[in-house]
């Protein structure tokens, strides 16, 4: 297993490097002088020239890339045009919010998605299944921000049960109860993804139930519930696990929107604001962080998948 992990990590490196090249080229693909872009609209020609020399923009691209990569590996992602602080610091501030949001969302997805999917498959064809399948497809069709807006309207404005925006840190006054700020956002983010998991679990369980080894399990005289859990669900998990990487990607993408709707000080909102503010170093930094994170998560999913399915050769 360890060898397999090491090997997979090795194959990841070229992909990450290639992705980093794309991220690096990002600044240079924007029309205009890179130094002028980095400094923003209020820069003087002298400042632009100075930065150009300092950043080595007059050097050939491969050299610049090497310099940039070197900096990145040491933790220097550049300086935010808007904040004037190191990019990594800016990103770090949003990390707490985004990580907590993502975690809570995953909890909802697993807690709601999997059991409802199992229920749906177990009562296939009956009204429970029709309602949950239809409902799942419906929720998967809802734009996240629309759901978020209406949840705010109902639960914050009309009922006043939950706050509608912002998120004080857990370190601040209120401590863990501050998580209630993340309740509505995490539910909003979880809804369409949980719906997809419901459909996946259902489809996967129905597929597995048709397989020969389930008939063998029944022929052993096992209780139907035992067959369902040990032989159907356990095997269905393989397909579900494989989908979690995709789920994470969807989470990261949609968190951008959700954080905007609920004004959460997270990395997603940071990206959008940076785009609108033309704070390119921050955009670059966030993209890089997310790409690395996403790649690592996919690796973790692959490893989990290999653990769940002994047939996957650990060569």
């Amino acid at each position: 297993m360890l060898v397999y992990t090491a090997k997979r990590l090795l194959t990841l490196i070229p992909t990450l490097l290639a992705a980093s090249i794309l991220v690096f080229l990002f600044i240079h693909l924007i029309p205009g002088d890179p130094a002028a872009i980095l400094l923003g609209d209020s820069a003087t020609p002298e400042e632009i020239a100075a930065l150009s020399a300092e950043m080595g923009f007059d050097q050939p691209l491969p050299v610049q890339y090497a310099l940039w990569l070197g900096n990145v590996l040491q933790g220097d992602f550049g300086t935010s045009v808007f904040f004037g602080e190191p990019v990594l610091t800016v990103i770090g501030r949003g990390a707490e919010t985004s990580i907590l949001l993502a975690t809570m969302t995953m909890v909802w997805i697993v807690v709601f998605g999997i059991p409802i999917g199992v229920l749906s498959a177990s009562y296939q064809g009956r009204w429970v299944d029709q309602v949950t399948s239809g409902g799942a497809m419906l929720f998967a069709s809802v734009p996240t921000f629309w759901l978020g807006l209406y949840l705010i309207l109902i639960f914050s404005v009309w009922l006043g049960w939950f706050p509608s925006s912002g998120f004080p840190s857990l370190a601040d006054e209120g401590g863990v109860t501050n998580l209630r700020y993340l309740l509505l956002p995490s539910l909003t983010l979880a809804a369409p993804n949980a719906a997809l998991i419901v459909r996946l679990v259902r489809a996967s369980m129905l597929d597995v139930a048709r397989e020969d080894h389930v008939r063998t399990a029944r022929a052993k005289g096992l209780h139907p519930a035992t067959v369902a859990v040990r032989h159907i669900f356990r095997n269905a998990l393989i397909a579900v696990a494989a989908a979690f990487g995709f789920t994470f990607a969807a989470l990261v993408s949609e968190a951008v929107v959700t954080e905007t709707v609920f004004s959460l000080p997270g990395i997603g909102r940071l990206v959008v604001q940076s785009i609108l503010r033309r704070d390119y170093p921050v955009i670059q930094g966030v993209i890089l962080v997310i790409v690395v994170l996403y790649t690592l998560i996919n690796l973790a999913v692959d490893l989990a998948y290999a653990r769940l399915d002994p047939r996957v050769s650990l060569k």
Partner: protein, 324 residues
């Protein structure tokens, strides 16, 4: 009294609101230490019959619509699901056609045998595991102490089928149903598996119901044979008797279509026509559209079972003619 007594079994498939009969009155019996062969083409209902006996039709679109199945003195139809489950894998066991997919790929082979053992016997994990190793040895899996921890995909088809046999026999069942156990295996492996089954039968006195479309396999291993066609038993007799004095045109057709190896032939004989699908309803004898001896009588009236010798039953208007 026979160990297994199937009387006038009827099975139908629910298609929408309609019930289409698939098995229409099948009867046979098996004693301990005996091997009954059920032979027929695809679609004749032999697999469904075996599933019905085993109790694996519950919860599917296929159901038993008539007849009785008596096993070890009990009427299986009168048992509760819980009582039924107590028998499955315990007093009665089954192995299937596709060894490649009949074992759960995510669990080790030994764990799957242990699961069967601990379901029906009060054994500790250790004791069950030891017993599983013994069983693997019994079915001639080399190095059973190691192989017990193998995953199914690490074994060949023949080995997987032997694991299935080990699992089926783990609780010393009185009856083993084998649905085409060797069809998916190479010929050499086939022989090994069949020999193994015969050997185990001698040792443990298990009754075996062997289902196959291969007359050769049936001839080698069975004490008596029931030939099924389209949901009915066309002919039933002890094996030697059947091959010596067959009395049904279908049986003759089956026998004739086996290629011979001792002399040259120009043409391979086949039974003309095809097996009708379950939606197609027929009057009279089910075989008449394809039968060389068919007359108007055959298309109008279904033949009643005819006892032409002590253990030899046949359903054909012209049975006497076929024998001679």
């Amino acid at each position: 009294m026979a160990l297994l007594d199937v009387e006038d079994l009827q099975i139908a498939v629910a298609k929408g609101r309609v019930l289409l009969p698939v098995v229409q009155g099948v009867s046979f019996s098996v004693d301990a230490d005996e091997t009954l062969g059920i032979v027929g083409e695809s679609g004749c209902g032999k697999s469904l019959t075996s599933l019905a006996i085993m109790g694996l039709l519950d919860g599917t679109a296929v159901r038993i619509t008539g007849g009785t199945i008596r096993f070890d003195g009990m009427d299986l139809g009168a048992l509760s699901p819980k009582e039924r489950r107590a028998i499955m894998g315990n007093r009665m066991a089954m192995i299937f056609q596709e060894p490649m997919t009949s074992l759960n790929p995510v669990y080790r082979v030994g764990d799957q045998i242990v699961e069967n053992l601990r379901q029906h016997r009060d054994l500790s994990k250790r004791a069950a595991r030891d017993r599983a190793v013994e069983l693997l040895d019994l079915v001639r899996i080399p190095d059973p102490g190691q192989r017990i921890d193998s995953f199914p995909h690490q074994m060949s088809g023949g080995q997987r089928q032997r694991v299935m046999i080990a699992m089926a026999l783990s609780c010393d069942p009185k009856l083993l149903i084998a649905d085409e156990p060797t069809t998916a295996l190479d010929v050499t492996v086939q022989k090994e598996v069949l020999d193994l089954m015969a050997d185990l039968q001698k040792r443990m006195g298990t009754a075996i119901v062997l289902i196959s479309h291969d007359l050769g396999v049936i001839a080698e291993t069975c004490d008596k044979v029931s030939v099924m066609y389209r949901g009915r038993v066309a002919e039933a007799a002890p094996t030697a008797e059947l091959f010596a004095r067959l009395a049904h045109p279908y049986t003759r057709g089956l026998l004739n279509s086996i290629p011979v190896v001792d002399h040259d032939v120009e043409w391979l004989e086949a039974i003309p026509g095809r097996v009708p699908t379950i939606d197609e309803q027929l009057t009279g004898c089910a075989f008449h559209p394809r039968c060389p001896l068919a007359t108007d009588l055959c298309s109008q009236t279904a033949p009643d079972p005819l006892q032409i010798a002590p253990a030899h039953r046949v359903e054909c208007h012209f049975a006497e003619k076929v024998v001679t």
